[in-house]
């Protein structure tokens, strides 16, 4: 291994530090690495490049792969082609709403599932951990939702993969972007959006879409820390371990923070006039069974391209069921 007394490490994230996972990279991950390296003879000078100063959202993977940064918060959500198996959660809604559980197990799957592991390696990356979990997605609308029939013909903005969740409901799914949701609901381009609470409050979406429906779409995995593999392989094992441990600590701290905020944010939105409704099992069942099996479509497409999508799907669903989840629909068993 290369003997590195002090090295400069560039860490990159496309999102700005107001996003919780970026904040924790700076406030949890980096200090944890520094603390672990104390007394080892190694130290790191960090060059923190967030918010698109070096790479835009969805560009982090290439920046790390090409070596412009050593470590990145790589968002698999925005790299659905290169990190296809990692996006399994977005094709399996209605499985589990606890983001802490999803993240813990997704982190483990990154090394235990052969296809997930291979996806990182194919892009020249070493996955460090520190899963970015996204809290349970909500349906926020400017009209009350009492039954699925209420959605008929309504235009609902949703992030790319979540557009699939709306198929079969009668709603018109429109692929949209968090940054413009507020304006577009306000002017009526959308009648609602699919969004998570920890982003809805800062964006004040409840002002324009005060009907918050907890449909139970579930928590999601959006990515994690990854390092340039060539660089990582040349590191002293002590440094490698410090990076992995710090990523694990980051995941715990981030999700504790996330859970606390979600409860708080829902409370604030309610106190500011929003109505939070939790749908009953029948509603959820009706929604889930009305959907196409997008997980199947997704897995088949991966199978055809040489990645064992069916195995990834089964592995993920088995893992979640073993972890105590009771999926509304067993996507892998149809």
């Amino acid at each position: 291994p290369v003997r590195a007394d002090d090295m400069t490490v560039t860490i990159v994230a496309g999102h700005p530090p107001v996003f919780r996972w970026v904040k924790h990279a700076s406030q949890t991950f980096i200090p944890a690495v520094n603390a672990a390296l104390e007394g080892t003879g190694h130290s790191i000078t960090w060059s923190e490049q967030y918010g698109g100063s070096l790479a835009k959202v969805g560009e982090e993977l290439e920046a790390v792969e090409e070596g412009l940064a050593e470590i990145g918060l790589v968002s698999s959500l925005f790299d659905p082609a290169k990190l296809a198996p990692q996006n399994v959660t977005y094709f399996t809604p209605f499985v589990i709403s606890d983001s802490t559980v999803v993240s813990e197990w997704m982190d483990k799957l990154q090394s235990s599932n052969a296809d997930m592991k291979a996806a990182w390696e194919a892009n020249g990356l070493e996955y460090l951990g520190g899963a970015i979990g996204i809290d349970d997605y909500l349906l926020m609308t400017n009209f009350p939702v009492n039954s699925i029939a209420d959605l008929e013909g309504r235009k609902i903005g949703a992030p790319g993969p979540a557009v699939n969740w709306l198929k079969g409901t009668g709603a018109v799914g429109v692929s949209g972007n968090l940054t413009t949701y507020y304006n577009e609901i306000k002017t009526g381009v959308y009648d609602g959006v699919i969004v998570f609470a920890s982003a809805a409050l800062p964006g004040k979406l409840h002002e324009v879409a005060p009907y918050i429906t907890k449909v139970g779409f579930g928590a999601q995995y959006a990515g994690g820390f990854a390092a340039n593999k060539d660089w990582f392989d040349g590191l002293d094992p002590a440094v490698q371990q410090a990076l992995r441990d710090a990523a694990a600590a980051d995941r715990v701290a981030y999700h504790a923070d996330l859970d606390a905020s979600v409860a708080k944010f829902l409370g604030i939105m309610t106190s500011q006039g929003a109505t939070v409704t939790e749908v009953d099992d029948a509603f959820r069942q009706q929604w889930a069974s009305g959907m196409d099996n997008v997980a199947r479509v997704w897995a088949d497409k991966l199978d055809a391209s040489g990645v064992n999508g069916s195995a990834v799907l089964k592995d993920y669903m088995d893992t979640m069921r073993a972890a105590g989840a009771t999926p509304v629909r067993n996507w892998d068993q149809e």
């Binding site: 698109g52 070596g67 412009l68 940054t179 800062p202 004040k204």
Partner: protein, 435 residues
Amino acid sequence: MTPFEIGLTSFGVMILMVYMGFWVPFALMLSSFGGVWLIKGSPILAGKLLALAASKTISSYFFGVVPLFVLMGYIVSVSGMGRDAFDVANHLFRRLKGGLGIGTVGANAIFAAITGISIASAAVFTRIAVPEMMRHGYSARFSVGVVAGSSVLGMLIPPSLLLILYGLLTEQSVGDLFIAGVLPGLTLAFLFGGGIWLTAHLNPGALGSAQDADDIPPLTGRELAQKGLPLGLLIGLVLGGLYAGFFTPIEAGAVGCLGAILIGLARRSLSLRDFWEVLNDTGLVTASICFLIIAAQMYSRMLALSGVPAEFGSFVATADIGYWGVILAYVALVIVMGTILDSSSIMLILVPLMLPVLATMQVDLIWFGIVTIIAVEIGLLTPPFGISVFVIKSALDDPEITLGDIFRGAAPFALLMLVLLGLVLAFPQLATALI
């Protein structure tokens, strides 16, 4: 050399190359290539930075519709709608000295409610307004100056791409920011209009030999309707559709474009040949501007790697100079960075650095956002890297009007923006009153 010194040196080299007459995008690319090579010690890595920026910088829906806004303006111009609208404006403002200049500012304020980006305003009005103002005797320098100056309204009056970016960076409501931009935007339009009016009275020579409106026969009511209606219809279509929720500000460019084509065809004033020509021209303007933006992004990534902006930013953020010291130093830093960097890069680099400091000082982040946008937008008009000026130069395609002319013409408007900045700093209500 340390990365910091490399960053500073590359800056000097870049400025030198630009003034020597090296093409601006190549000067930016070359200094970022050299800078990254020295910082990272690898020409291959430097090349990779160029390649990634080339394929990713403009790859977004926001940028994708830039050519459509440009094309809309060109069709308005080539089909005679622009000329007619200016005849109407001239008629309405014929009692006012400098009326056409004021009319251009007003038209830009209206167009700002349609577009979210200043470069679209600049490209559109270069084609519509500059020839008309010069036809009425205004000097070239003043005509392009008005267009450059009032293009900044595009980002201040909602919708605004920069305000969306700021909202994302600071977790502020984009809706609130949009409302906060309205009064400062209108104030700026009034400052511009008033400035032109005063100049026309006190120093008319500065505007050129603008014809006295008395020379122009007044329009009849019928002529007014005939000339004003088509453009009024188009504006109504776009604004109406936008605020009725039929389409988004991003999509407005495409809808407006199709609307302009249909109106042009209905008036029989848009021939296939004209259409092809402006379509082609749109492509050239789009390519040169987007290429410049890609190059600017490469340069700003190199600077980010060198740590120069972060160093200056944290100096301002941590200096023990009190509330106003920090705010004024920040504004000054933004304006200085505006001479060489593009608007969004400055915000991406500086705003996150300032946030922790602002939190300790209880700064109203909505107000701070408006201050930031105005300061950042001054950079659109300042040499050597002033993107509005570059857009005008590229859209104009007239060798007689040099970049220097446009920068000089825009300078008084940059000064008026400083005045607005002072007003918003002194009277935060300008930004916060409507929220």
